[in-house]
């Protein structure tokens, strides 16, 4: 017996407008064009919108979304690219996008900084272009930075930002896993935990991977209200690259811990076929939704 949701219909992914398995391999490279001098400019568009989503079968949640999904789109670019994100706030509340990376103060998505130049806190109906050079390479995240901060993040305004190194990485089956949680009764503790929003999704629908193929997981922790989260893999070990900022792994392990906002890259090959569980080794989270399987064939 595993912890699980009640038997019955699953979350209505069509109504939600996103599906956890599809989000694993869904990368937004933006609209790329070559600038004079040979650099690449990537232009993205992100709209903040209030949206009721189903976070567990039968349980709705008044989320705030980037582009109608939680987590928001996985923005992907290469180290040194010029990145421009057109942000439009179509929500009823003020928001920003705060990117983890190296950029100017105006591009930091911080309320109170840059309002005179049209930046800072972006009010309802306003727009702003965030623009910066993609650096350093690694797996990063972005999120809203309006106060109350925990609520603005926990409501769904977050996503992954992947900056590939110039020289690239070995080819792999790449997966984005955003570890998130939902405080559905607004008591500052979470009722539901998941990877890519829907708890137990990968328990019902194991992630299909191929034997001996390199699997690269971009793991991001955005869980609010709980100080740490973790990832544990069964029947296998993985190379861990904290924040993905080095080409050398820091550790060969089967369990990593991430605090709020921490992220990293996990690389593994499955030598044996079969089903292998992965879950938070904060087991309370595991049984409240944060559990899944790899299916190796």
């Amino acid at each position: 017996m595993h912890a699980a949701f009640a038997d019955g219909p699953e979350v209505d992914h069509r109504a939600n407008g996103f599906e956890p398995t599809e989000m694993l391999r869904d990368f937004d490279y933006g609209e790329a064009r070559r600038l004079p001098g040979g650099r690449t400019l990537r232009e993205y568009s992100i709209v903040a919108r209030d949206k009721e989503i189903e976070v567990a079968p039968g349980v709705s949640y008044p989320a705030w979304t980037y582009n109608g999904r939680v987590p928001g789109p996985t923005l992907r670019c290469t180290e040194g690219d010029r990145v421009r994100i057109r942000f439009t706030n179509a929500s009823d509340h003020p928001h920003t996008i705060h990117f983890h990376g190296i950029h100017s103060a105006l591009m930091d998505g911080m309320p109170g900084i840059g309002e005179a130049q049209g930046g800072g806190q972006i009010e309802k109906g306003e727009s702003f272009d965030y623009e910066f050079d993609a650096e350093p390479f690694g797996t990063h995240l972005y999120h809203c930075h309006v106060s109350p901060l925990a609520a603005h993040i926990a409501k769904g305004l977050y996503g992954a930002l992947i900056i590939d190194p110039r020289q690239g990485r070995p080819p792999a089956d790449e997966l984005v896993m955003v570890m998130n949680a939902f405080d559905t009764n607004f008591d500052s503790t979470n009722e539901l935990y998941a990877v890519n929003t829907v708890g137990f999704h990968f328990q019902r629908h194991p992630i299909q991977v191929r034997r001996d193929e390199l699997v690269r997981v971009h793991l991001v922790n955005v869980v609010e209200y709980d100080p740490i989260n973790s990832f544990h893999l069964h029947g296998n070990f993985f190379d861990y690259y904290p924040t993905g900022t080095s080409m050398q792994p820091s550790e060969l392990t089967d369990t990593v811990i991430q605090g709020q906002g921490q992220r990293g890259i996990l690389e593994m090959r499955f030598p044996n076929p079969g089903r292998y569980m992965f879950h938070a080794h904060v087991t309370e989270f595991a049984e409240l939704g944060w559990t899944g399987f790899f299916e190796v064939s």
């Binding site: 699980a4 949701f5 567990a56 039968g58 349980v59 009764n185 009722e191 708890g199």
Partner: protein, 397 residues
């Protein structure tokens, strides 16, 4: 003369119709409101109000069964259930209408004696929490169980009350002064039982569903029992007068006391049965002995008014059964755990009956000068309260 009569008829004939006039107008007003869609009375603003009471928690091997009741104004849908921070598949998901109830069956390998925190997650993301203090299997409601409850009811109800009635010869021997003190003692006993029933009823009602009035049910039950017994009493007096029988006022009083104590013991049985069903009752000798001592004094209360009379043994036995046997019924009801609302109402009934009995007995403690609260009587009342207080300490379930 005829004309005058006709006028009177015309005037009096529509009396019932006049009485119905406001009712008819109310009907028209409600119909109009419904037809017009209740202008200004549309959907309530704001998020749905979700109020769920857990009416019953039953534990079977590998299963936790909850009976929930929707106390709030809006339908509530239970979408998921977690036990000790783990989501668990369950049967019974779905919407519960206002005042409706629903059974949730959760497959869970619970362990004897351990504590569990159950969270029901609603469709809006709201949570309803309930706790199991120390898990123990809920007894099956089979014949053996009802037999056990009957035995328990006889132990704590019928036997002690009957033993207490053996004070009758003693009561006959003491003088009128001592008898008044005995009656005062009885009033003290009854007052304690009445207050105890009200407090217990309010406590139980407060913990359960509020949909049907909660603690108000205790007071409603008390008022109905008081009025009902008052009416029965008046009826019995009238019949005795009509039969011109010299009557037996003592027997009349003893009967009333027996009924009042019977209704009280119904409540006591409820408490025992409910506690046993919840596994909260250790059926130790100590408890049964405690109840026996506690309830023996009730037998004294019944025979106290019979000092001047020589009722046949059959009648005395009947009085004993009337006062003691409801404990059996109470234990059955309590163990089958009808809702907390029913239990609160029945405890209120017991309390109201007792107040009525006190009102009936009160005149018998007056001395030749008509004084009731003489030092001796006050001492008697206090002793009655004291005895039940002390013996009550033995039996808190």
């Amino acid at each position: 003369m005829e004309a005058a009569e006709a006028t009177a008829v015309r005037r009096s004939a529509p009396a019932w119709a006049l009485g119905l006039l406001p009712v008819a107008l109310l009907g028209i007003a409600v119909a109009l409101l419904a037809l017009l869609g209740g202008p200004g009375l549309g959907e309530r603003n704001g998020v749905p109000v979700e109020e769920i009471a857990i009416e019953r928690t039953e534990l079977r091997p590998g299963l936790i069964e909850l009976t929930i009741r929707n106390d709030g104004p809006d339908p509530v849908e239970i979408a998921q259930v977690s036990v000790n921070d783990a989501f668990i598949p369950f049967d019974g998901a779905g919407e519960t209408a206002r005042l409706g109830s629903r059974a949730l069956t959760i497959g869970y390998p619970w362990i004897e004696g351990e504590a569990y925190e159950i969270v029901l997650l609603t469709s809006t993301g709201g949570t309803v929490e309930t706790a199991i203090g120390a898990a123990t299997e809920t007894p099956d409601l089979d014949l053996g169980f009802f037999g056990l409850m009957a035995l328990l009811g006889i132990y704590v109800g019928v036997i002690p009350v009957s033993i207490g009635m053996v004070w009758l010869p003693f009561v006959r021997r003491v003088g009128p002064g001592a008898l008044r003190v005995l009656m005062a003692f009885t009033i003290g006993l009854l007052a304690f039982l009445g207050v105890d029933a009200v407090l217990e009823g309010i406590e139980i009602a407060g913990a359960g569903s509020q949909a049907f009035g909660g603690s108000a049910l205790v007071l409603i039950g008390a008022a109905l029992a008081y009025l009902g017994l008052a009416a029965v009493d008046a009826h019995m007096r009238a019949r005795r007068r009509a039969a011109r029988s010299a009557g037996a006022p003592g027997m009349h009083l003893a009967l009333l006391i027996a009924v009042g104590i019977g209704l009280h013991n119904l409540g006591e049985g409820l408490a025992i049965g409910a506690a046993y069903a919840a596994g909260a009752l250790a059926l130790g000798t100590f408890l049964v002995v405690g109840f026996a001592i506690h309830n023996t004094t009730e037998g004294l209360a019944i025979v106290a008014p019979l000092a001047e009379e020589r009722p046949p043994l059959r009648r005395l036995l009947l009085l004993g059964l009337l006062a003691g046997a409801p404990a059996v019924l109470g234990a059955w009801i309590g163990a089958a755990a009808f809702s907390t609302s029913v239990i609160a109402l029945l405890l209120g009934v017991g309390a109201g009956a007792i107040v009525q009995v006190i009102v009936q007995i009160a005149p018998s403690i007056r001395d030749h000068a008509g004084r009731a609260l003489t030092p001796q009587n006050v001492a008697g009342i206090s002793a009655g309260i004291g005895v039940l207080y002390v013996t009550g300490l033995l039996i808190s379930v």
